[in-house]
C-alpha cells in the first residue's frame, strides 16, 4: 500500500489546464522529487494534496483513505504537512509561537500547552533556530524563515512532508545544509515529497523523481533513469 | 399586462440608476481596490450640487456637466493623496483593503457632516419635467423616464470608454495586474486615481439624476444607495463593470416587482436585495460575470 497516492488528478483555471490526469504515488520512508519547468503544475499538485484546491476530477488517497475534497486543516491533522513556495510565516508572531501554533492545532494527539512548547523548542533546536525563539519571525533572513516553515510543518507530527522549493534563493553552503536537513527529517521517519529546481539536491537526495510538463507527467523513475531520459533532457534544454 | 409594464419599465427606471451607481463602485473596488463605503455620500453631494445649481437657474440635466467633472476631481485628488499614501505603506493587498475601507468610512463621516452643515437634514426637492408619459397605456412620470434614459446613456458611454480608449486599456491592465502594468509603462498612481475619480463622477451624476425624480436628504440618502451598489457589484461579479451594469438592471426589476406585490410593498424592496445577497454569498459569491 502506498502512503500517498494520486489518481488521474485534474484541475483547470479558466481555460488553462494546470494539472492533467496525473497519477503518482509515494511509499513510506521515500524521498520523492517533483521537478519540471516553471508553470508545469508542481505547486498546483501540492495544492491539491494539501486541499488548498479541490481537483476537478481524480482522487487522492492517503493511507488507504480517500482524502479528496477534505479541508486543509483536516489534511494537516491526518498527517500531511507542507511548506510554501513564497514563505508564509506569521510575521509578527515570535519564532516559537509560529511553531507552537502548529504543535497545538495540527497534531492529532492534541498536546497540552506545556507539551506543545517543549515540542516546539525541540524542533527549533532540530533546525538550528533555538536562539531566535523569542524574536518576531519577520526579523529573520529568508533562509532562516524557511527553517521556521520546516519546524512549523514538523510540529504537527506529520507522516508526510511536502517541501516546496526549500532551496530557492539559498547559496551553496545553505543548499548543502538544507540537503542535510532533508535527510535528517527522513531519518526521523517522515516521508518527503520535494519540489526543487536545484538539480544537485534532487539527484543526490531523492529515491525517485517525477517530472511534470504543462500539467502532465512526462517521466518517472530513479535519478539515474531521469538523468538519462531523452524526454526530460529535451524539456529542460528546450526551455 | 398593466402590472407587467409597470414592473418592467419601473424596473428599468430603478435599474438605470442602480447600474450607474454600481458601475462607479465597481470601478473603485475592482480596479483601485477601495471598497468605498462613502460612495453614497458622493452620490448625495452630486444630488445637492444639482439642487443648488437649479436654485440658481441651471437646468438640472445640464448640471451633470458640472457635477460629473467636479466629483471626478474630488475623487481623483482624494485617491492621489490619501489612498495612494495608504497603498504605499501597506505591506500587502489585504492590509490595503482594510485600511482603505476604514479611511473611506472616515470620508463618509466628513462628507456627510459637511453636507448637513450646508443644507441641514430636512428633505429637499424641486419639480422638473413634471408631466406624464404614457407607455402601453400606463402613465409614467416624465422626469423618471428621462433620468433613467440619461443614467443608461452615461453608463454605456463610460463602458465604451473603458472598453475602447487608450486610458481604458490602461485601466483594464491595472485591474488585471497592477505591478505588471506599471512595468509596462502604465502610470499606476494616475490610472488608479482616474478610476476612483470616474467612480465618484458616476456616483455624482447618479445623484443629480435622482434629484430630478425624488426628494433628497443629506443624512439618510447615501447609505441606502451604497448598500444597493454593494449588492449589485456582488451580483454582477466583483471586478466586472459590465456585470454591475447588468446586475443593476436585474436588481431594479426585482425591486420593482417586490414593490408592486401586495403583501410585501416597497419597504421590503431593499430587504429583498439582501435576500439575493445572502443567496449569492451562499451559492455563487463570484456573481454573474465575476473572475
Amino acid at each position: 500500500m502506498h502512503l500517498l497516492e494520486g489518481n488521474k488528478l485534474t484541475i483547470n483555471f479558466g481555460g488553462l489546464t494546470a494539472v492533467s490526469e496525473v497519477d503518482f504515488y509515494v511509499d513510506k520512508g521515500d524521498i520523492l522529487g517533483l521537478i519540471g519547468p516553471n508553470g508545469a503544475g508542481k505547486t498546483t499538485l501540492f495544492n491539491l494534496i494539501s486541499a488548498t484546491l479541490t481537483p476537478k476530477s481524480g482522487t487522492i488517497t492517503f493511507k488507504s483513505r480517500n482524502i479528496t475534497g477534505v479541508k486543509p486543516y483536516q489534511v494537516c491533522r491526518l498527517g500531511i504537512a507542507r511548506t510554501f513556495q513564497t514563505v508564509k510565516i506569521f510575521a509578527n508572531m515570535t519564532v516559537l509561537d509560529n511553531v507552537r501554533l502548529a504543535a497545538l492545532f495540527g497534531d492529532s494527539k492534541k498536546p497540552s500547552e506545556a507539551e506543545a512548547t517543549k515540542a516546539a523548542m525541540d524542533l527549533l533546536e532540530f533546525v538550528g533556530l533555538v536562539g531566535a525563539a523569542g524574536i518576531p519571525a519577520r526579523g529573520l533572513t529568508l533562509g532562516n524563515q524557511k527553517r521556521i516553515e520546516v519546524a512549523r510543518a514538523l510540529a504537527s507530527r506529520p507522516e508526510l512532508l511536502l517541501l516546496d522549493e526549500l532551496m530557492a534563493g539559498l547559496n551553496q553552503t545553505e543548499i548543502a545544509e538544507a540537503m542535510d536537513l532533508v535527510r535528517k527529517i527522513r531519518d526521523r521517519g517522515v516521508t518527503i515529497i520535494m519540489i526543487e529546481h536545484v538539480m544537485k539536491a534532487i539527484m543526490n537526495v531523492c529515491d525517485r523523481i517525477i517530472v511534470l510538463n504543462y500539467g502532465k507527467k512526462i517521466a518517472e523513475g530513479t535519478p539515474q533513469e531521469i538523468a538519462n531520459s531523452k524526454i526530460v533532457v529535451e524539456v529542460y534544454l528546450g526551455e | 399586462m398593466d402590472l407587467l409594464i409597470k414592473i418592467v419599465i419601473g424596473g428599468l427606471i430603478l435599474g438605470g440608476i442602480y447600474s450607474l451607481v454600481s458601475m462607479g463602485l465597481s470601478l473603485q473596488y475592482g480596479v483601485a481596490r477601495v471598497l468605498n463605503i462613502a460612495h453614497g455620500e458622493f452620490l448625495m453631494i452630486g444630488a445637492f450640487i444639482t439642487f443648488w445649481l437649479q436654485e440658481n437657474g441651471v437646468d438640472p440635466l445640464l448640471s451633470i456637466l458640472i457635477v460629473g467633472p467636479a466629483l471626478f476631481v474630488i475623487g481623483f485628488i482624494l485617491y492621489r493623496t490619501v489612498f495612494t499614501s495608504i497603498r504605499l505603506r501597506s505591506p500587502n493587498p489585504g492590509v490595503f483593503e482594510s485600511n482603505s475601507l476604514l479611511a473611506a468610512f472616515g470620508f463618509f463621516l466628513i462628507v456627510q457632516n459637511i453636507a448637513v452643515i450646508i443644507w441641514g437634514t430636512i428633505p429637499h426637492s424641486y419639480s422638473y419635467l413634471g408631466g406624464t408619459v404614457s407607455i402601453g397605456g400606463v402613465a409614467f412620470q416624465e422626469n423618471r423616464l428621462v433620468a433613467a434614459a440619461f443614467a443608461l446613456a452615461v453608463g454605456i458611454i463610460f463602458y465604451i470608454f473603458i472598453a475602447r480608449s487608450r486610458t481604458g486599456k490602461a485601466i483594464r491592465a491595472a485591474a488585471q495586474d497592477a505591478s505588471t502594468a506599471s512595468l509596462m509603462g502604465v502610470n499606476i498612481n494616475t490610472t488608479l486615481a482616474l478610476c476612483f475619480g470616474f467612480g465618484a463622477a458616476m456616483a455624482g451624476i447618479a445623484g443629480s439624476l435622482i434629484s430630478i425624480c425624488f426628494p433628497i436628504q443629506t443624512n439618510v440618502m447615501g447609505l441606502g444607495y451604497t448598500v444597493i451598489a454593494i449588492v449589485v457589484v456582488t451580483l454582477g461579479g466583483l471586478g466586472s463593470i459590465s456585470g454591475s451594469f447588468i446586475g443593476g438592471l436585474i436588481l431594479g426589476i426585482v425591486g420593482s416587482a417586490v414593490s408592486y406585490t401586495k403583501w410585501l410593498g416597497s419597504d421590503l424592496a431593499v430587504a429583498s436585495y439582501y435576500v439575493i445577497f445572502i443567496l449569492l454569498l451562499l451559492l455563487r459569491p463570484k456573481g454573474l460575470l465575476g473572475k
Binding site: 488548498t52 479541508k71 486543509p72 | 482594510s98 476604514l102 466628513i110 457632516n113 439582501y274
Partner: protein
C-alpha cells in the same frame, strides 16, 4: 514552580491594577455625583463595544461593520421581553437573552460570510444594520400595528452597576482569549489565514465562534441601554453610527492590545460628550472622520502603538547611555 520576584511584580501589575480600578469604580455611585455616573455610563458602553469589536476584528483583520446590528438586537430583546408594563423576566435574565440573540445572529452571519474573502464580510456586515432595521419597521408597522415600544426605565445607579459588570467580564474574556491557544489561532489567522489553515487551525470555526462571542457582549450592553432610553423603535435601536464609533475608537486607541480600545473609547466618548453639549455639536462627525483618516495615515498602530514606540525608544536610549 519557580516564581521569581519579577514574576510577582508582573502578576501584580497585570491583575492587581485592574482589580483596584474595578473596586474604586464599584464604589463610585456612593458619592452621588450624578453627572459623573452618567458620563461613566457613556464611557462603559463604548468600552464594551470597542473591546468586543477588537476581540474579533482586531485579531483576525476582518472588519465588522455590524456592531450596531448586534447592539440593536440587544435593545430590541429588552423591548420585547422587558416592557414597562406587564410580565417580565428579571433584568439579569433579559441581559442573557439579548446577548444570546446577538450571539445567534452573529453566528449565522459568520457562517454565511466568513467562509469567503474578507471583503464579502465587510460588505455584508455594512448593510446588516439597515436591513434589520427595515425588516423590523415593516414587522412592527404591518404585523404588530405599532410604532415603538416602552422598556422599563432603570435608574442611573442600576445601569452603572450592570455596565460595569458587563465591561469587566468583556475585558476579562478578551484577556483570557488573548492568552489562550485560541488567541494564538486568532492571531495566526490575522497574520496569514492560509498558512494557519494548513497548520491545523479550523479557521472558519474559530472565526465564526469568536465573532459570535464578540456579538454576545454587544447584545448584553444593548439590553441595558434600552432601560436607559426607555422608548425604543427600530430607528432608535439600529443606528449606523453605533457601528462606526467603536471601530474608530479601537483604531485610534490601537487594537493590538486590550487597553488600546479602552483608551480610545474613553477619549472619544468624552470628546463626543463635550461636542454634543457645546457649540461644536454640529461638527462631531467631521472631527471624528478627520481623526480617523489621520490615524490611518499616520498612526497605524493607534495611540497605544505610538506610546509603545516612544517608550521603546526612550528605554533604548537609556540602556545605550548606561
Amino acid at each position: 514552580m519557580d516564581f521569581s520576584k519579577r514574576d510577582w511584580k508582573k502578576a501584580f501589575i497585570t491583575a492587581g491594577i485592574p482589580v483596584i480600578i474595578l473596586v474604586v469604580l464599584a464604589f463610585f455611585p456612593m458619592y452621588g455625583w450624578q453627572y459623573g455616573i452618567t458620563l461613566f455610563n457613556h464611557f462603559l458602553l463604548f468600552v464594551v463595544l470597542s473591546v468586543a469589536w477588537t476581540i474579533f476584528s482586531g485579531t483576525t483583520g476582518y472588519i465588522s461593520l455590524a456592531t450596531a446590528a448586534f447592539f440593536g438586537i440587544g435593545i430590541y430583546a429588552a423591548a420585547l421581553v422587558y416592557p414597562s408594563v406587564g410580565d417580565r423576566y428579571p433584568l439579569f435574565v433579559v441581559v442573557l437573552i439579548g446577548a444570546a440573540a446577538s450571539f445567534v445572529l452573529a453566528f449565522i452571519v459568520g457562517a454565511i460570510t466568513l467562509r469567503l474573502k474578507g471583503i464579502y464580510f465587510a460588505m455584508f456586515t455594512f448593510g446588516l444594520v439597515l436591513i434589520v432595521r427595515e425588516l423590523l419597521y415593516w414587522y412592527e408597522i404591518t404585523v404588530e400595528g405599532r410604532r415603538g415600544r416602552i422598556v422599563k426605565f432603570e435608574g442611573n445607579d442600576t445601569i452603572y452597576y450592570y455596565l460595569l459588570a458587563i465591561a469587566a467580564v468583556t475585558i476579562l474574556v478578551a484577556y483570557l482569549i488573548k492568552r489562550s491557544k485560541f488567541g494564538l489561532a486568532l492571531q495566526s489567522i490575522g497574520e496569514n489565514e492560509e498558512a494557519a489553515a494548513h497548520m491545523g487551525v479550523n479557521v472558519t470555526m474559530v472565526k465564526v465562534f469568536t465573532y459570535a462571542v464578540s456579538a454576545f457582549f454587544m447584545g448584553a450592553v444593548g439590553v441595558i441601554m434600552a432601560t436607559k432610553w426607555s422608548y425604543v423603535d427600530p430607528g432608535v435601536a439600529f443606528a449606523p453610527m453605533m457601528s462606526f464609533s467603536p471601530v474608530l475608537m479601537a483604531i485610534f486607541g490601537g487594537f493590538g492590545s486590550i487597553y488600546g480600545p479602552v483608551i480610545g473609547a474613553v477619549i472619544f466618548s468624552y470628546i463626543e460628550e463635550i461636542l454634543k453639549t457645546g457649540n461644536w455639536s454640529r461638527y462631531y462627525m467631521l472631527i471624528f472622520g478627520t481623526i480617523l483618516v489621520v490615524t490611518i495615515l499616520f498612526l497605524p498602530s493607534g495611540l497605544v502603538g505610538l506610546i509603545q514606540n516612544v517608550w521603546r525608544r526612550v528605554m533604548g536610549r537609556r540602556r545605550a547611555s548606561a
